[in-house]
Structures are given as structure tokens and as C-alpha cells.
């Protein structure tokens, strides 16, 4: 049971470059999320998706783009990376429906923008 896998796990890129972080889940969960984790801010929601082809902005969406053409994949793209986007990025998923369903996290992607 692979769960949620993120790739790459570690990435260094230059300012202005486009970067895509991949997220794949094997549970067929309806909901998928992207969070960033920065010191002092906890986890902040970037984008989420309730189903394939349905995405919505979270708390900090600027500078990011997402897509969800298939239920199992939810890539996050930084169109023109900035130093402020240096962070740890977590992909997560959750089953549909009952709001008590918990959220399951990937292992994180460490992104450094230089």
C-alpha cells in the first residue's frame, strides 16, 4: 500500500525557473491538498481539489498553479520560482464526504530557491 508519494523529495532551483512537484495517491481519495510548511506558520493551504477537474484556492495560492486531470495525481507548479517559495511542501489526501475523515500526508518535498 504505497499511499501518497511525492517527488522530488529534494530540489534546488534558481529564481525564475519553473518547478513542478508531483503527488500521487493510491487510495482513490476524492480530496487532495497542497500545504507549505514554514517556521512559525505551521501548515498553510495552497490549493485543494475535491475531485478530478475541480480545484480551489487556499490561503496562499499566489505564484502556484495546480491541475487534477486524474483522481490520483495532483501536481503543483511554481511558474516562476522566488526565494520566498523556499519551503517544505506537503501533499495530502482525504476520503470524500464525512468531515471527520482524517487527512493523510505525503513525506514532503524540500524546495530551495536560490
Amino acid at each position: 500500500d504505497a499511499g501518497i508519494t511525492q517527488s522530488p523529495r529534494y530540489k534546488i532551483t534558481e529564481t525564475g525557473r519553473q518547478v513542478t512537484l508531483m503527488c500521487h495517491q493510491t487510495w482513490s481519495h476524492s480530496y487532495m491538498f497542497w500545504y507549505r510548511q514554514d517556521l512559525g506558520h505551521g501548515l498553510r493551504l495552497i490549493y485543494y481539489s475535491a475531485a478530478a477537474d475541480i480545484t480551489d484556492k487556499g490561503e496562499v495560492p499566489d505564484g502556484y498553479v495546480v491541475s487534477r486531470s486524474k483522481t490520483e495525481n495532483f501536481p503543483l507548479t511554481l511558474e516562476s520560482a522566488t526565494r520566498s517559495q523556499t519551503s517544505v511542501y506537503f501533499c495530502a489526501s482525504s476520503p470524500q464526504g464525512h468531515s471527520g475523515n482524517t487527512i493523510y500526508f505525503g513525506e514532503g518535498s524540500w524546495l530551495t530557491v536560490v
Binding site: 480530496y31 491538498f33 500545504y35 512559525g40 506558520h41 505551521g42 501548515l43 498553510r44 493551504l45 485543494y48 475535491a50 517544505v88 506537503f90 495530502a92 482525504s94 468531515s99 471527520g100 482524517t102 487527512i103 500526508f105 513525506e107 514532503g108
Partner: protein, 112 residues
């Protein structure tokens, strides 16, 4: 918008002792869920415990229990018989519908 506050950025506890981590939240909803997640140095997010807002009884999972005060919008986590492996960041989280909101976290150190 819903917010989650953890007023203790850092805490420490002696091994085998009990510690309580605080969490408050703000919502106008009546039906929601609250969670505590643990993040060890590996950065993996691990569910510790979950509480349903409509349930009066406080949730318990082995050494972990919560004190849920709905009127006060308070959701504290008590760790009994603390172990070295409990050292981690702890995040309080709130969910209604499709949104999860996390607090800023409390870093717990366990002293041998």
C-alpha cells in the same frame, strides 16, 4: 474564516510525567472535527487523536487524551507517561466540510 491558535511555541516535559498542550479555535459552525497531529524530526505527519464536536465525551487513545470544551472553543492534548519518542512538533487542526486548518504548532521536548 476559521483560525486555530496554539499559544505555546515550545514546551518540555520530564520523561514519565504528564504534559498538556493547548489549542483554541474560532468557528461559527456547530458540526466540525478537531485533530491533533504529531510531526517528529522525520517530518512525517502522524494522526494522534480525533474529536467530533457533537460528542460530549473526550477522545482517548492510549496515553493521549483531549479536554474538549466546546463553549470555550478549547481543545487541549494531554500526554501521560511521556516517552522520549513523544518529542515532536504537535499541530492542532480543525475541519468542517472540506477545509482543514492547522495551528502553528507546539514543539515538545522530552527530558530524560
Amino acid at each position: 474564516a476559521q483560525t486555530v491558535t496554539q499559544s505555546q511555541p515550545e514546551m518540555s516535559v520530564q520523561e514519565a510525567e504528564t504534559v498538556t498542550l493547548s489549542c483554541t479555535y474560532d468557528t461559527s459552525e456547530s458540526d466540525y472535527y478537531l485533530f491533533w497531529y504529531k510531526q517528529p524530526p522525520s517530518r512525517q505527519m502522524i494522526l494522534v487523536i480525533r474529536q467530533e464536536a457533537y460528542k460530549q465525551q473526550n477522545a482517548t487513545e492510549n496515553r493521549f487524551s483531549v479536554n474538549f470544551q466546546k463553549a470555550a472553543k478549547s481543545f487541549s492534548l494531554k500526554i501521560s507517561d511521556s516517552q522520549l519518542g513523544d518529542a515532536a512538533m504537535y499541530f492542532c487542526a480543525y475541519r468542517d466540510g472540506q477545509n482543514f486548518v492547522f495551528g502553528p504548532g507546539t514543539r515538545l521536548s522530552v527530558l530524560p
